[in-house]
Amino acid sequence: MGQLFNLQFLAGHIHYLLFIVLMMTGLFIVVDKTNLVKKIIGLNIFQVSVFMFYVSIGKVTGGTAPIFPMDDKYHVDKEALQGIVYSNPLPHVLILTAIVVGIATTSLGLALIIRIRESFNTIDEEDILNIEQEMTRDDNIKYRDVAEGLI
């Protein structure tokens, strides 16, 4: 951990620390907030921070976006290509896929929230827990005789 106080080391790693701060803000929303929509938003923040972290791995200092120059016949201009530094395109591709999968999971979560609201008439986690406990207590009272008869 002593490296953290080395200025040159810190300059190279400050981005990672900042991504982690954002990630932890998202995690805090997921763990602390009881409203389900807010939890989904916290999950999104966490997710986007992971994406930024992942894309930052592909960044090369002095590099540019991985799009080649074209000649006038719309083919890649191989001569103009020489000497240009490009960032790594592979993390970009993987994160593009992840963003689309992320919106799929978000929409599924939101649909689940709508169903929960239909059944429980609330989207607050603590309220749902209370209702569940009440239902279990009622069931226990209702079926106590039956259960005792079985023994």
Binding site: Q3, G12, H13, I14, H15, Y16, I20, V21, L22, M24, T25, L27, F28, V31, D32, K33, T34, N35, V37, K38, I40, I41, G42, N44, I45, V48, F51, M52, G58, K59, V60, A65, P66, I67, L81, Y86, S87, P89, L90, P91, H92, V93, L94, L96, T97, I99, V100, V101, G102, A104, S107, L108, A111, L112, R115, R117, E118, T122, D124, E126
Partner: protein, 184 residues
């Protein structure tokens, strides 16, 4: 230098937006702020040279997911309750996880290093081969559509499954409501 400055300003704005989301209780404002968060992160993706990721994030994160969330809060309640428990345990969980992650990044190569392990193997290979193999200017397109086409196929399968899931969960919403009305 100017890059670092831009990144830092964007980071400060991102962190402020995230903290505002933590504090807010009106869900409409929270959804709008999450849209702002996506837009800011799209700007950060541009400075990280990931222009394709940036416009996907702007379209999907700031566009579609905002619309979906607005639809959800229209169908549910627009104001979140203040939670009754203390934030002490969540804070400890977050701090411990954050410390573990920071410890994990200590061994990583510095940001933007050209000799990092990620810059050694397939990435440069794709860059070198795309002009001859596929001849499209955008390397991200080449990898997405051709070299890693199966990944994209899998992604389509995931989106299809999620679409079916949403349809099954929400189908019959109106019918169930009418049934309830009749019972009442």
């Amino acid at each position: 230098m100017i890059d670092t400055l831009t990144n830092t300003v964007l980071f400060v704005m991102l962190v402020l937006t995230a903290l505002a989301i933590v504090r807010m209780e009106r869900l409409f404002a929270v959804v709008m702020l999450s849209s702002v968060f996506s837009l800011l992160s799209a700007l950060l993706f541009v400075t990280l040279d990931a222009v394709d990721v940036a416009f996907t994030e702007a379209a999907v994160g700031a566009g579609i997911s905002t619309v979906l969330m607005l639809g959800t809060i229209a169908l549910t309640k627009p104001i979140a309750k203040r939670s009754r428990h203390t934030a002490f345990v969540p804070l400890i969980v977050v701090c411990v996880t954050g410390a573990a992650l920071v410890y994990g990044t200590l061994d990583m190569p510095a940001f933007g290093a050209y000799d990092a392990p990620a810059q050694m193997h397939v990435g440069p290979d794709y860059l070198a081969r795309t002009p001859d193999d596929i001849d499209v200017p955008n390397v991200v397109t080449a990898i997405l559509g051709s070299y890693r086409g199966y990944d994209t196929l899998g992604e389509t399968a995931v989106v299809f499954t999620a679409g079916i899931g949403v349809l099954l969960l929400l189908s019959g919403l109106r019918r169930r409501r009418e049934d309830e009305d009749e019972e009442v």
